[in-house]
Assembly symmetry: D2
Homo-oligomer: 350 residues x 4
């Protein structure tokens, strides 16, 4: 099978660079267009931005000439969008209308009723919303979103608990990496030797996206999971990887051993299908009393698995544990890519 | 009034150094003995240890000769103990038996039924337990403990809420500074660019000390406050100051404004008495959406006030907020010293 | 004597905030105008910027209304400029022409032949260049510059060596703090756990300013000191304070003891005059084998002294040592202020 | 060819872990013994230590039982020693006497006249010293040392300059990672937000090892290169990778372009031989004005190449540049392993 041509919107940003890095060698997709702002269009990729992540600079595509980010100049049947919310609100529908399937990292459309908010291990069946979206909007393409990075990591651990027991309540306190804010993003004067107990809109996103992700698709719409969730978000001086302290109240009050078993036994669809970007083990369970640790664990499995450790009794909600995941791999570019692989497998991309 | 002679046990450690720093200029106490291990006894203070905190090295007492830490060699009527738990378990009772009032940072005796676990703003009336202790143990001196640093900061914010509304449940996730582990303490390889989701015994201490601190003294014993509390503790790459993400369920479901008012209106005893080490404002309320921040705020008021910001509704428990306090000032040496000032004022030291 | 009214140009930036902090309580000057860009003019200081440094927010002047930064709107007889180079090139001469004495942190005029580049401990006699400047330019005011922060710290240690021995060559490798780049300045993604071996124009500034600072004023011009200097500048993850590794070749090949004695014996003019901002001891000599250390030492003396340690033989140039100074106190706002105090004492301000 | 059995001495430390990681999959060697102190002998590898580096924990050998580190219990024909200097001084000769070829990271024997101090790209001919050593000491095995990590990185860049021009003088200021001090090593209280301008014995090692490494083997002994070298060493808050600011005086005063060409054209022996651990490109030349940067560049090529950037004129010595290399790969375990691969190729291992 020849590889499907794709466009990367916002290729010069940190998440855009992760897309380039991951797509440079992908077995199913090949990069057709690197798109950026009008200001950068026409320039070589290496000239228009600084490569901010580890690994081969520019994914080997430093000479590629950037194109402006509209469907006239940058159309491909598959589009990966690393745009900020405001340009995404304008450009992503234009591509969808033109027939492209847009896999978006932006928050602009995540909570629209007819837009799949997708984590393939968690709610692959939500992909079917795309049919509703096309019918309602008259599009031949469509928009599929991956969630906020913190919510993505969270639902990876919650999904097997929801399936095994049902979740009544979640308290999640995050310790988030600076790369989540892009580049230049967080000023070093704000974070060196410091903790910032605030990330704009982050708590709101986690609190609204999580119930949708864990919801059921019924009659062409998602019925949000009836759980109560509270998020408390912090920025800490860590480069990549979000640590989350999670407490949950589960139906039937399972024991620590039962929770551990439910997480260990989880076998979601992407792993069964062997999608290229899916980690073989979606949840890495740690037994050392002081793990997972972000600097030591988060790069494992290409940053696509999440890590759970310190599962223990919570005096207040029943169970608490430590959770870790990679915000720009699993929580951004890798997540979008996995969505596209699922869509391809399910026949939504021709 | 001539100043009361005091002994510092464990003077060479980080908390011991804080004691020296704070007592070097104290209006009511003067350092009579700097005590250390047998190995260091007989050496000059500056030779026996490295000064690890900011400010004048050795508090100007670098030439002072260290004595061994027993009541025979180091007796004073007032003793400040910066010992670890194991030596504290042995030495502190020896001093108490010899007639000294021991103000201890160690965890060894905190949960003993007849030992006051004291934060002067929170439970000054618990000091009366000392009479029970003396009678039961036949001591002429006694042991008074200040709580774990994380618990200390927490109860400073909880006390006015307990008084105004009553607390039913607390969820507390901490982001703790490395200085809490002493010196050498946390290895840099373990914490640089990292988060460690585990601090040995820390969650247990917070969960058991908090209810005792907020309890009522009745009939010669403390009845612990009937609140449910869960603690999730993390080490982060910050030098001094613990950040705590707190959610609480309060009786009567007060509004954010009511909670803010209760914190602002709090006027505890040490402030009314004007004790030397008491901060004029015990809780600094922040209105900026991204404060308090540890590097920017924690040194204010000599590290003796705590900081509260981002008071907001918690979907799960009702109210959540961000809390910050200094672990080696308020949470250790400054806390012990304030206990001694209260004890002096109440007539327990002659 | 009533305090002299002053204007702070660029009051919202990090160096501007240091000016506010230092001038809020100054015995000789009082803040008349806080000036900022057109965009911020008319807004309260606290609304127009975020206070980025420790200590009382906005120096207590959060309610002060900002004015636009031209001589029509913001004239005072003394002006402290925290402007960037481009606006400084335009605004500072306008104030000088209008009769103000401008104490500038910017690099725009430092190397002009008739502009004093001044560190009061090092070359107070260069102040006399002001007469040349006024005559040549027809100004009633004038511009006086303090040097680049790295050069300032360096010449504080070189001046006594130049006086005692004469300097032939200097090799200086810096490890510079992030605050030197202002706010937002260095992106956290660029510096967390990293070293950046490049700071734009920094090596050039050190290499050209140092000989001028150590030069002699003869016949109305400065003859640069005939030393060879090489600078290698790095950014490191430190908040405040520049560490410099210095090797020097001195005339007559003095011993380590002789160098130490020359540094210890140094008694420059500002200390003799007792200028308010002058540190009592301009060079703090350290004997511990691992000092000075930036986080532990740099705040001493209000950040106005520099620190020298590890004086030892250099196999290549003769003497090497470790040097430390505060980049935003001594190297910026504090340095400008000391310049103004000297100018006031010498009768240049009426 | 069957793989040669090897012993790792000091397998539980950070450098020992790097040996395990690199040898777990090596094409020419297989791990026969993991040796540790008496205290750890008999315990499983995973029980006796904490895995402190990234990648698969314990190199997959967590179940391997540790043996005590003497030739009776842990003999293999090839021994990799990650011991500290004191135990190395005792144990390494015992293995050499018993017939093992010991590849040592310790400093104990580096400066012995009959011990090869080896970097295969730099002085492979020094390997012949082994014959002298065997004859003089009556050993059937032998000891080969790799240099101090900072010196190793330095000579990788100096060797082509020595070959092309001849080096007269070197000034080297280092900014070194914490992993160089092992585990627990540097206390976080000493390095977080700090710079320590002192590493015990480090400057001495660089200054004495570098001339030996660049020396010529003549008549059974190494004549040190007649260059003057001065080292100024610092610890900075970086996990892995040493940055070095280097100035050199070269014979004939070559231009920046000539120096760049000499570095680019370098084709040392291990690359010609294709030794498994040799990086294809030994020196990565950077053209970006702000590279190399340790966090972004040091892991390239498995940490075995060094990085040079910012080659520019030095007003004092002629040429200056920025240098970067990995202290525990190239500067420790990887360096030893490459030494062993060279020895194997040259027929010293049977």
């Amino acid at each position: 099978m020849s590889r499907i041509p794709v466009t990367i919107l916002g290729a010069t940003g940190v998440v855009g660079q992760r897309f380039v890095q991951r797509l440079a060698q992908h077995p199913q997709f090949r990069i057709q267009h690197l798109a950026a702002s009008e200001r950068s269009a026409g320039r070589a990729y290496a000239d228009a931005c600084s490569w901010r992540i580890e690994g081969e600079a520019y994914g080997g595509l430093g000479d590629r000439v950037l194109v402006a980010g509209g469907p006239d100049t940058a159309f491909s049947p598959v589009v990966f969008s690393a745009l900020d919310s405001a340009p995404a609100a304008e450009l992503e529908p234009a591509f969808a209308r033109a027939g492209a399937l847009v896999f978006s990292n932006a928050s602009a459309f995540r909570m629209e009723a007819d837009v799949p908010l997708l984590v393939p291990e968690v709610n692959p069946e939500h992909l079917a919303l795309l049919a509703v979206q096309r019918e309602r909007r008259g599009w031949t393409g469509g928009i599929l979103c991956n969630p906020n990075c913190t919510a993505t990591v969270l639902v990876m651990a919650l999904a097997p608990l929801q399936a095994a027991f049902g979740i009544e309540a979640v308290m999640m306190t995050s310790l988030q990496a600076i790369s989540g804010a892009g580049y230049p993003g967080v000023a070093s004067l704000d974070i060196l030797g410091n903790v910032v107990p605030f990330i704009r809109n982050e708590e709101e996103k986690v609190e609204e996206e999580t119930p949708k992700l864990l919801g059921l698709l019924e009659g062409g719409r998602v019925r949000s999971a009836p759980l109560v969730i509270s998020a408390l978000c912090h920025r800490v001086p860590v480069v990549d990887g979000h640590t989350e302290a999670v407490s949950v109240r589960l139906r039937g009050n399972p024991s620590v051993a039962q929770v551990r078993e439910a997480l260990a036994a989880w076998k979601p669809l992407p792993q069964a299908l062997g999608l290229p970007t899916a980690p073989v083990v979606p949840i890495r369970l740690h037994t050392a009393e002081d793990r997972p640790q972000v600097r030591r664990d988060v790069e494992q499995d290409g940053g696509m698995s999440v890590h759970v450790g310190r599962i223990r009794a919570c005096p207040l909600l029943g169970i608490k544990f430590s959770l870790l995941g990679h915000n720009t791999h699993r929580g951004a570019a890798g997540g979008s890519l996995l969505n596209a692989e699922l869509a391809l497998h399910q026949g939504w991309i021709r």
